[in-house]
């Protein structure tokens, strides 16, 4: 498939935003149970603003994918059948909750909602944070299912796609949180960096598993089933157009096989290995956490590019020779 840059930015930016929000609320939950020192409202509040910036960036990028962005509202109508429609609903809902969560902290408006037996006070921000966490995961699932539900694209049609979207977004967001904490609450940076290392390792394993799976995929369709002629030797002589068509542009990454081969080790290095090294070093040198986030962001862009480029659509069987 052709990697559309709008979609690369959309999925990587909202992934970082979701991950950052999850990281912030993970911290708040720990603190709620007294496992970590509770931070100031400003810490969670401005962290949510940062998360919103990333989510908005993704939302804006998504509009560049549409031929008719002015009709985008219509895409919320078929949520019963379409994962894309569900994503269109969940993304703004999630952004709304992140906004409210941030606002409840920044305005210090955190009325008590319920007191658990044992005297634990659940305030509004904790309720919003829980809701936001659920929506963050729902959004990961919607985004990933857009790809994973397409049974013809065998490279995507796997639970690994969903797992990897969650882990990659989580990794990116927790690294960002570590960097943010290093600036805003330096003594908490280790907590985020520690989780970031764990999630990045898991994401490395998950992505490795999907690469392993994809390398062994056997195509279901063949030239024989495509045109229904059961002869072992079929060669296309003409695809019905001389200057290419939508079908030759939309389903092919347009780069050489060597480029495709080179991008794989590149993204493995940029998205996993280097950030892990920088995270480990970052435990003592916080500035490296920022570098880790930026390096990994480029790595994730390359990862997403490869994710698209590697998916081989069965329609390509019909488009093999210009003529």
């Amino acid at each position: 498939m052709k990697p559309a840059f709008s979609v690369l930015f959309l999925t990587t930016l909202i992934g970082a935003g979701q991950g950052l929000f999850l990281a912030l609320f993970t911290h708040q939950s720990y603190a709620l149970f007294g496992l970590l020192p509770m931070q100031s409202d400003a810490f969670y509040g401005y962290g949510s603003v940062l998360a919103l910036l990333f989510l908005s960036g993704g939302l804006i990028a998504s509009f560049f994918h549409l031929g008719r962005p002015e009709r985008a509202w219509r895409s919320a109508t078929k949520w019963r059948t379409s994962w894309l429609s569900r994503e269109v609903i969940v993304l703004p809902a999630f952004m709304g909750v992140v906004f409210l969560y941030g606002a409840s902290h920044l305005l210090a408006f955190r009325p008590e909602v319920v007191t658990l037996p044992g005297g634990l006070i659940i305030d509004l921000s904790a309720v919003l944070g829980t809701l936001g966490t659920l929506l963050a995961f729902a959004l990961f699932v919607c985004t990933a299912m857009i790809y994973a539900c397409l049974r013809f694209l065998r490279e995507w049609n796997s639970p690994l796609t969903v797992i990897n979207y969650i882990l990659l977004g989580g990794s990116s967001g927790f690294i960002l949180a570590a960097f943010y904490a290093a600036q805003a609450a330096p003594d908490q940076a280790d907590f985020f960096a520690g989780w970031a290392i764990i999630i990045t390792v898991l994401a490395f394993i998950g992505r490795g598993a999907s690469l392993w799976r994809n390398a062994r995929i056997k195509p279901k369709s063949s030239m024989q089933t495509a045109i229904g002629i059961k002869h072992p030797y079929i060669t296309q002589r003409s695809m019905g157009s001389m200057g290419g068509s939508f079908n030759t542009r939309e389903y092919f990454h347009g780069k050489s096989a060597a480029f495709l081969r080179a991008i794989k080790p590149a993204f493995l290095l940029l998205a996993f290995v280097i950030p892990l090294v920088l995270l480990a070093l970052g435990l003592s040198a916080p500035a490296l956490l920022g570098v880790a986030f930026i390096v990994q962001y480029f790595g994730l862009l390359a990862e997403r590019w490869f994710f698209f480029a590697q998916a081989n659509h069965p329609q390509n069987l019909y488009y093999q020779t210009i003529g």
């Binding site: 009709r71 429609s85 296309q236 002589r237 019905g240 068509s245 389903y251």
Partner: protein, 243 residues
């Protein structure tokens, strides 16, 4: 329930592209607006088409055959392109099974093209919406046309009658009989899309001519030899008065 569809006889198709041009002509002139073309008279002309004819070589030269293969939307009975559409612009009509795109609702997200295994949908780069074969829905129900013209444009244009049109759910229709009796098959059956359009396979068409036929034993004009046959050098004219 009706399911309109095309049945394409690969044994008859000569790859003339008449269906491609007539389809383009009809569908670029309709009320839905033109099907865009880019660089039509330039290097790398490209544009939106509903129907394409492709050519394949089956076997290895010199033991090979040419196969011309027209391909358009197959109006699947279980179309995977429809449920993925976030806007409902893509839909399958209850009454006749035609899969259509509402150009006024489509947001051009191209998700449906990912979900069609046949590459049957083409994005219109100027209108910025998705387009695909409509089975000439604006023609087959047009009561101002004589009945024999209420067929898709491609079917009307095919000089070899390789394209048939009808209801594949009606067991008595021409198309159903052709599918049943001439080995009609669907493309990529492995995906369970149940395409409505079917293809009739290539058949070996051999004509065995025996020697006596070559001598035209059964030719009623064999008696030719008994007609007057002037000898060599003999005048064919009776006399000078003949002219």
């Amino acid at each position: 329930m009706t399911q309109l569809a095309l049945v394409i006889d690969l044994n008859v198709c000569v790859g003339c592209h008449a269906c491609v041009t007539s389809c383009k002509e009809w569908n670029t002139s309709g009320s839905a607006g033109p099907l865009c073309d880019e660089n039509p008279y330039d290097l790398n002309p490209t544009g939106t088409f509903f129907n394409r004819v492709q050519t394949f070589e089956i076997g290895k030269y010199p033991h090979s055959e040419t196969l011309h293969f027209p391909k358009s939307c197959l109006h699947c009975e279980d179309p995977p392109c429809v449920p993925v559409c976030p806007t409902g612009a893509s839909y399958k009509r209850e009454e006749d099974g035609i899969v259509l795109v509402d150009y006024d609702k489509c947001i051009g997200c191209k998700y449906c093209t990912w979900a069609c295994p046949y590459g049957a949908r083409e994005f219109d780069e100027k209108a910025k919406v998705m387009k695909k074969c409509t089975l000439c829905v604006d023609r087959i129900y047009d009561m101002s046309l004589p009945e024999r013209d209420r067929k898709p444009s491609c079917v009307k244009a095919c000089p070899t009658s390789a394209r048939m049109f009808g209801d594949i759910h009606d067991p008595e229709s021409d198309v159903s009989q052709a599918i049943r009796e001439d080995g009609g098959y669907a493309l990529m059956p492995e995906w369970g899309t149940h395409p409505s359009n079917h293809y009739l396979p290539r058949r070996k068409t051999k004509l065995k001519i025996h020697l006596d036929e070559l001598e035209r034993a059964d030719n009623p004009l064999k008696v030719d030899g008994q007609l007057p046959k002037p000898g060599k050098g003999e005048s064919s004219m009776e006399d000078a008065s003949a002219w």
